[in-house]
């Protein structure tokens, strides 16, 4: 008994050695590819936000695939660029045959595919959710380095900063009070990119005062009772129906219209870290100025 146990464990050990050697041999070319300064030529993006950065930064012929979401102009700022690129649905089976030399994914999306891609040795870079404009700049730079387009990245950041600099300083005195309402009644609080965008537009984020950190659900009663000046709906109200977006069509929001300004600011402008955040700030700044103009006494 003992003898056969010993023998079988030795066979297992031998097999493990062979496997390890094989893995080393297989992994070697990837290691070399990652070390080489060559431009990645079959880039795959697995996330709507990374899609935008990849499409803006890399040459189209170096992009193997982006997500299907990026082709929808309602969700994406770069739908035209995405129209010429093959799309994926975040599935490992779609990605592996493309033999990507760089995969860029979000830290929260397509997790099973990302785990699988890492297992087979495909280089995967993950980008987080930007929490501030600084994060946006950092992320643009990070992706620019990954796709070896540093100059393009710096140009985009410079353009963004020029756009920000051209805005007149936001009035500190009379900041309209606002709440952001996303589908499913989710609002955005402290410590987020959205919060910083609102601050720079000269708008006070009531959700941040309500001690909501990050993203949290807010009951419609609370939205109504807080008597905000501006209600920012972060999705258009005329898309295909779902209960999630039904809340944005609730009659109580229409009934608020004589005291609260309803603004639709599409999520594509401020959910992802990209140069579009400047447009989000500009649009909100205009709203803030108009609201202030209507109520100079406040």
């Amino acid at each position: 008994m003992a003898n056969s146990d010993w023998r079988s464990s030795r066979t297992v050990r031998c097999r493990r050695l062979i496997l390890a050697a094989a893995a080393l041999l297989l992994a070697a070319p990837h290691v070399r590819a990652a070390d080489a300064p060559a431009k990645p030529q079959r880039i795959v993006s697995l996330n709507l936000c990374s899609d935008e950065l990849v499409l803006r930064l890399a040459d189209p012929h170096n992009i193997a695939s982006v997500t299907w979401l990026s082709r929808d102009p309602k969700n994406s700022n770069v739908a035209e660029l995405a129209a010429r690129i093959p799309v994926n649905h975040g599935l490992a089976e779609e990605i592996i045959p493309l033999k990507p030399d760089l995969v860029i994914a979000g830290v929260y999306t397509a997790r099973t595919a990302v785990a699988m891609l890492k297992r087979v040795g495909i280089p995967v870079a993950e980008i987080g959710v930007p929490m501030s404009l600084d994060d946006v700049r950092r992320q643009i730079r990070e992706v620019a380095v990954l796709v070896r387009e540093r100059d393009k990245g710096e140009a985009i950041i410079a353009q963004m900063d020029a756009g920000l600099a051209s805005l007149p300083p936001a009035s500190r005195s009379a900041r309209p009070r606002a709440i952001v309402l996303n589908p499913n009644g989710v609002t955005v609080g402290k410590g987020t990119l959205v919060d910083e965008i609102m601050r720079r537009a000269g708008i006070a984020n009531v959700a941040a005062e309500l001690a909501i950190d990050n993203y949290g659900q807010i009951p419609l009663e609370t939205v109504v009772a807080n008597a905000v000046d501006v209600l920012i709906l972060s999705a258009s109200r005329d898309g295909p129906p779902a209960l999630a977006t039904e809340i944005l069509r609730h009659p109580v929001l229409t009934a608020l219209a004589d005291r609260t300004r309803l603004v639709v600011l599409p999520g594509r402008l401020w959910n992802c870290g990209g140069p579009a955040v400047v447009e989000a700030i500009e649009r909100l700044r205009r709203v803030a100025d108009e609201v202030r103009g209507e109520a100079p006494a406040r």
Binding site: V224, A225, P240, V252, A255
Partner: protein, 343 residues
């Protein structure tokens, strides 16, 4: 197990006069409606809000009351009434205490009907399409159930037919949500399977109330015939009741009530099981009399459950079906336990 031969006959002095029972339950429903208006996510000066509404001022308090709390309370009452009365009626028709819209798949099929209409834009084109979709689903399931198990069939057959309809309808609902063009739809199956009254609006109330009321009228109208049916089919026929018509009336009534309820609040389970079960001894096991009081009891239970989901410190709030299931499941288990002797 028929209602004609109950196992435990309650002693006569425990049975309250029917009028007193109706008045008592009505008072309970009114109190719960008031509580439902008073409870919420912001503290509201209810008397001031009502004064604002009456004087036509649209203050924020008035808006919260009229646009958010009133529809929630009214829908809770109406949907609960529909579920309670339909449970009582189906139990009378199938002569089986387990015949409940949720358990036997009628609510699930109604949810599928409503989902098919809602997510593909038909409800946007014609508002009435939403409850009609729910009613069509409920009617199809009830007919199918009746064809599969028949009246007075063994509990086993009824439950198996219900399980089949329920799981099939659930799968189709999930399929429809997957095919929806809106990316949020996939995550919304919880609403359709467990139900909720959160953020419903007044237009929905006015949309489904007439259809529900028609269903209630059909069900209550069938009361005398249901009482006759407890004496056996032949006796009921000899008493002049048209059983074919009775079946149609009950199926149509239950489909109207449950279908339109589920179309706006999702499938809330167990209400139609618990309430008739509790009230049956109080009306001397007469299925005709059980109908209206079960409606009132259903309204009370649903309102109480909806008050609980807002009072419990769990956010985002629980789905209504979670609370009714926690209350109702023990009743279901006890019923099954008692029925285990049945061949």
């Amino acid at each position: 197990m028929t209602q004609a031969a109950p196992v435990e006959t309650p002693r006569p002095w425990l049975i309250p006069p029917y009028g007193l029972l109706v008045v008592g339950l009505s008072v309970l429903v009114v109190v719960l409606l008031g509580t439902s208006l008073a409870i919420g996510y912001v503290s509201l000066d209810l008397t001031q809000a009502i004064r604002d509404v009456l004087s036509g001022q649209s203050t924020l308090a008035a808006l919260v009351l009229i646009e958010l709390r009133v529809p929630r309370a009214l829908l809770g009452g109406f949907v609960g009434f529909s579920l309670g009365i339909s449970g009582a009626a189906l139990q009378g028709l199938m002569r089986n205490p387990l015949a409940e819209p949720g358990i036997i798949g009628i609510s699930g099929a109604a949810a599928f009907g409503a989902v098919s209409v809602f997510y593909f834009g038909l409800a946007g084109a014609l508002l009435l399409a939403l409850p009609l979709g729910g009613i069509a689903g409920a009617a199809a399931a009830t007919f199918l159930l009746y064809a599969l198990s028949g009246r007075g069939a063994g509990t086993m057959t009824l439950i198996l037919a219900g399980v089949a309809i329920n799981s099939f309808a659930g799968a189709l609902t999930s399929l429809a949500l997957n095919l929806s063009p809106n990316p949020y739809a996939v995550t919304e199956i919880v609403f359709w399977l467990l139900g909720s009254l959160a953020d419903r609006s007044l237009p929905y109330v006015w949309l489904v109330l007439p259809l529900m009321a028609l269903g209630w009228a059909l069900l209550i109208g069938s009361g005398p015939a249901l009482d006759g049916l407890t004496l056996g089919e032949d006796t009921a026929k000899s008493l002049g009741f048209d059983l074919g018509r009775l079946r149609f009336q009950l199926i149509a009534g239950a489909a109207l009530a449950v279908g339109s309820a589920v179309a706006v609040t999702g499938a809330i389970g167990f209400v139609g099981l618990v309430v008739p079960h509790l009230l049956r001894p109080l009306v001397a096991h007469r299925p005709g009399r059980l109908l209206f009081v079960s409606g009132l009891g259903g309204a009370a239970l649903t309102l109480a459950a909806d008050i609980a989901v807002r009072a419990l410190p769990i956010r985002p709030e629980l789905k209504l079906g979670v609370v009714t299931a926690i209350i109702g499941a023990p009743f279901l288990f006890s019923l099954i336990y008692r029925l285990r002797e049945e061949p």
